[in-house]
Amino acid sequence: MPVAKIENLVKKFGDAVAVDNVSLQIEQGEIFGILGPNGAGKSTIINVICGLLSFDAGKVEILGREIKRDPVYCKRNIGIVPQDIAIYEDLSAFENVKFFATLYGLRGMGLKERVEEALDFVGLKDKAHSYPKAFSGGMKRRLNIACALAHRPKLIIMDEPTVGIDPQSRNHILRSVKKLNELGCTIIYTSHYMEEVEEICSKIAIIDHGKVIAEGTKDELKAIVMNTNGVWITVDSVHQVSAERLKEIKGVVHVEIKDNTVKITSSADINNLDKIILYFTGNGIPLKNIESKAPDLETVFLTLTGRKLRD
């Protein structure tokens, strides 16, 4: 039985279709990544799964029960880490976690233990009685996660839990996601950082404009773009470089110019590196560095949509 099953989900805001016929199946023990640019519909899908939003068509099941029929059962088994930090600044870390735990029916002796366990898990045990007012962004993010854990949900949904924090806190969070998974939790993880998703997720769905445009394991997704090659060329000044002209070279599918680097994606079956280099030298642009890049999820997204995941 899948932990979460979404069939032909449609969610509209007025006339705008935020989720357009999405079907996903999340199995026990997976870290399921939902990857997509801003406004793709990630949060909307998640809010539907956790019963926060109603939907216009389709079916959502948690642990085999339909969320519309049995919302209390479904909600009990979900822990949600919202995209926006949702904690009370005037309650201590301990009180925050405890409050949300009681909403899930925890009480008595077990309650205190579970709260401490959750705080320990995110590395805030020694800050249990401090107020979030004094917390750094990363600490708040971690408390935001702890609030979803104390009731030991079977399914934990994290909506961009690492937005806007320092690398140290981010690593801590990524490690704890893996640890939670090892403890038996199924996790849905949304992000628009493909490195993160690549690092921790066992299965990934790429969403754009409310639609699933690709789905599979990391390797399955990369196979989609195995027939492309990337070459990054660093120059002194990109002033004279014309993406249009580069695209005229046979085999080039995409050109992106950022800072002093020109990133060129080409079909793997055509060897055009000589022509590319000739373009630069022929136009009197000295090359500083040439790098060959293996395809990553960014390339996958780029190939599928013709757009960058992040701008």
Partner: protein, 374 residues
């Protein structure tokens, strides 16, 4: 259980909110002290009753003799001097001579009060107190207009003869400034507990915690109930603190029925907190909410007599004033405290609780909307 969790969480928010505590507890106490002291001259009864000399004729066996004796007793405490005379002619004569403020004749027909122009103000005061004092009985005031040239003209005024419910005046017949403002400031500040109601709802929106609450296996009505109860409870505590502080430390007069007083104020708390909760659901922007409340509250306070007593206003104003739930609370409080008059208690409580129920129903209806809290 969830209701209780939410309830206790609300208490924590409120007790840790220093600004709110200052507004709801410290501010009214300061207002009572400042207004009560600064404006005490307006209410000083010793100056009003000073130099009032009442001449009276009372054989002692008349129907109103006993009531009049009571009046004399309290009048003396208020600083009025009473002098007895045996003849009515002599009494009226002494008024014309301006030796006394007024002359009261206790006869078989009731009470007859004779006054002249020069002492009219003070005599009116005596008449007013006397009227209230013996409202149950037939009081007839005879006003003698004394004109230096002409013969005094006696006018019979039977208007005061209406059979009104008894209102025996207590130990303190008139409120001091401090007493008046203790009542009006307490009921004024209670209206501001609507902000506690607004905050209870808006807080979850601004903190984005509403989503989390709605993702938990908790019903929307449980959420609303926990929040409403939390806001009500904390406000009741705040009001009680102000009430007890003013009674025991400022020594303001709250009458002999503190329980009833607290019930009345509690009804107002229910109305105000529910108003805040209702408005928080009806209007989406913070600016609109505070705009509406900042408009509504002063209107309610004005028509409640919170700024100035409304007694001198015309009928239309008084009629509109009846729509102010605060007016009901204030007049009923006055009646209970100063006249042991409980006749409007049920109506005042009912009106306020009824309005509260309306506002809460609006909230209960609105919270079902999907985006109500998001």
């Amino acid at each position: 259980m969830a209701v209780f969790s939410i309830f206790t969480k609300e208490l924590k928010h409120n007790t840790r909110n220093l600004k709110g505590m200052i507004l709801m507890v410290l501010f009214p106490i300061i207002l009572i002290v400042v207004l009560g002291t600064a404006l005490s001259g307006m209410f000083d009864r010793s100056s009003e009753f000073k130099d009032i000399r009442v001449l009276y004729k009372d054989p002692g066996d008349k129907p109103l003799s006993q009531a009049f004796a009571e009046f004399r007793k309290h009048g003396t405490e208020m600083g009025i001097t009473f002098t007895k005379t045996e003849s009515s002619e002599q009494g009226v004569e002494n008024i014309k001579n301006r030796r006394y403020t007024c002359f009261v004749n206790v006869s078989d027909e009731g009470l007859e009060l004779t006054k002249t122009d020069w002492s009219a103000l003070k005599a009116n005061l005596v008449e007013a107190v006397l009227k209230t004092f013996v409202e149950r009985y037939k009081t007839v005031a005879v006003v003698a207009q004394v004109n230096p040239q002409a013969v005094p003209q006696m006018i019979k005024n039977s208007q005061a003869g209406d059979f009104v419910q008894v209102s025996s005046l207590g130990e303190k017949p008139r409120p001091r400034a401090m007493d008046y403002y203790a009542i009006t400031m307490l009921t004024l500040i209670t209206l501001y507990s609507s902000l506690t109601g607004v905050y209870a709802i808006r807080n979850e929106k601004t903190l984005k915690t509403a989503g989390r609450l709605l993702c938990a296996p908790v019903g929307r009505y449980e959420l609303l109930l926990g929040k409403a109860l939390g806001a009500l409870f904390i406000t009741l505590i705040q009001v009680l603190v102000v009430l007890l502080f003013s009674k025991y430390l400022l020594k303001t007069y709250w009458g002999e029925h503190l329980g009833t007083i607290f019930l009345l104020v509690s009804a107002e708390v229910v109305m105000a907190v529910s108003l805040g909760i209702g408005v928080a659901f009806l209007l989406r922007s913070e600016a609109a909410i505070s705009g509406v409340l900042n408009m509504v509250i002063p209107i309610l306070v004005f028509f409640g007599g919170g700024y100035i007593p409304l007694d001198g206003f015309n009928k239309t104003v008084l009629l509109i004033a009846n729509a102010s739930p605060l007016r009901w609370i204030n007049t009923t409080l006055m009646a209970v405290i100063y006249a042991n008059d409980f006749s409007s208690v049920a109506a005042a409580i009912g009106f306020n609780l009824g309005l509260g129920a309306v506002f809460l129903s609006i909230a209960a209806y609105a919270i079902r909307r999907e985006g109500a809290l998001l």
